[in-house]
Symmetry: C2
Subunit: 251 residues, 2 copies
């Protein structure tokens, strides 16, 4: 890549910063070069932008929209997650206020909310909020704060309190690690407070985790298995022997 090429790329990236696409022809005109040069610029760049049917788009940085793509196997567990979310959606009732955790596990759940009546979704995740914001008939409450890139979510001091002020029927919680003895954990410590607050005040607590999480321990512990009413998973989990443990739903 050369200096002028970098300038052009920066200019285009600027134009795309607010989202959206630019036609190749317009990009060329905007930069005062031929279309071929724009193509070459983009091809030689770091992949921040890509062409999609003659239009220039910001590449799917995971910060925005995860691409559903089976053959490209970007997310090998997508189909599993979808199945899990279908099971999870069965628990939802009309008029519910749902807490939906961050991560990609619960994203397919959003699609299943379309058409349901009188739902409210509470979340602290940007990707979840974006998905819900497109559903005109679902109310969205986003718990704000400082943005954390790694988990596409927000954290703040007041979040715990904010959650307690809401009446949450069902909390759908995701996790990076689920261990029979060592409990449920995630990667990022700022997720602990909102997760715990949601678990503390929701009428029903549902843990959703695909098999890759089962038997795994991650740095930030946030709950024991018994803190959940339902565990939805496609992994190996022995049904609780004694009463009092969560109900295990296989997907």
């Amino acid at each position: 890549m050369n200096g002028r090429s970098a300038m052009r790329l920066a200019r285009l990236q600027e134009a795309l910063a607010g989202g959206g696409t630019i036609r190749l022809s317009e990009a060329a005109r905007l930069c005062g070069v031929s279309e071929m040069t724009i193509r070459r610029d983009v091809a030689a760049s770091d992949g921040a932008m890509v062409f999609l049917g003659g239009r220039l788009v910001m590449a799917d940085n995971p910060h925005y929209a995860p691409v559903y793509s089976v053959d490209e196997q970007k997310d090998s567990h997508f189909l599993a997650k979808r199945r899990l979310c279908e099971r999870a959606a069965d628990f939802i009732e009309e008029g519910d206020t749902l807490f939906i955790d961050c991560g990609t596990t619960l994203l397919p759940l959003i699609g299943l909310l379309a058409g349901r009546k009188q739902l409210t979704v509470v979340t602290y995740a940007l990707n979840v909020a974006n998905a819900v914001s497109t559903l005109s008939d679902v109310r969205l409450v986003l718990l704000g704060g400082v943005y954390h890139d790694a988990s596409q979510s927000f954290g703040s001091d007041g979040m715990e309190e904010a959650i307690h002020r809401l009446g949450i029927n069902r909390a759908f919680i995701s996790a990076a690690g689920v261990h029979e003895q060592k409990g449920v954990s995630c990667f990022h410590f700022h997720e602990v407070a909102p997760k715990q607050a949601a678990i503390a005040c929701a009428a029903q607590r549902l843990l959703v985790a695909d098999e890759s999480k089962i038997g795994v321990i991650r740095p930030a512990y946030f709950a024991g298995l018994n803190d959940f009413d339902v565990v939805i998973t496609d992994g190996d989990m022995a049904p609780s022997p004694e009463s009092g443990g969560p109900r295990i739903v296989a997907a």
Copy 2:
């Protein structure tokens, strides 16, 4: 459109709810029909989804909406807004904490923040937050609450207080109406509180409005012209005669 077709469309829409795209071939496989049928489904539908270079996308996904488009003229003021934002960006200094208002006027400003050091952006708008979230070197604080579709922004009781707890150097405020006598106004009442709070505590207050807003009055009044230190516009605005009025910057 027929029943099964509607089912397929719903299924695809579900898959796209989390954002992203589906290849035509995958969509066909997902629905168990040929690619041609999917094409026909989408063509006969209400336009909620569109094809973009062999991929299916939600039409309202701002990530894939055409931004700069001469023939499609979706936003005739795009170039003007870009110019305004270039002027606005001149005021930004290293280490600043910026309040950025909702709407589309200030969106091009985000692109101009890339590469600047030590910036923090405070906003209550989802589209602004999405744009900022892609900039790895800019800190983002999103003020959450209940989502309002019309302005793609959030509103909550505690927002005023939350803003007052932040140290804001510069507030970039947009408006739907700017009137010499009747002051500055917007469409939605929930925007009034955050705008006023930002104006109240920012060290520098900048109003950014293209010519279509000048001389216009909208339902929700939120400030007088004298509450601003700088007004950046490409419209007709007489420079303040007496001292004390805002500095007018033409773009």
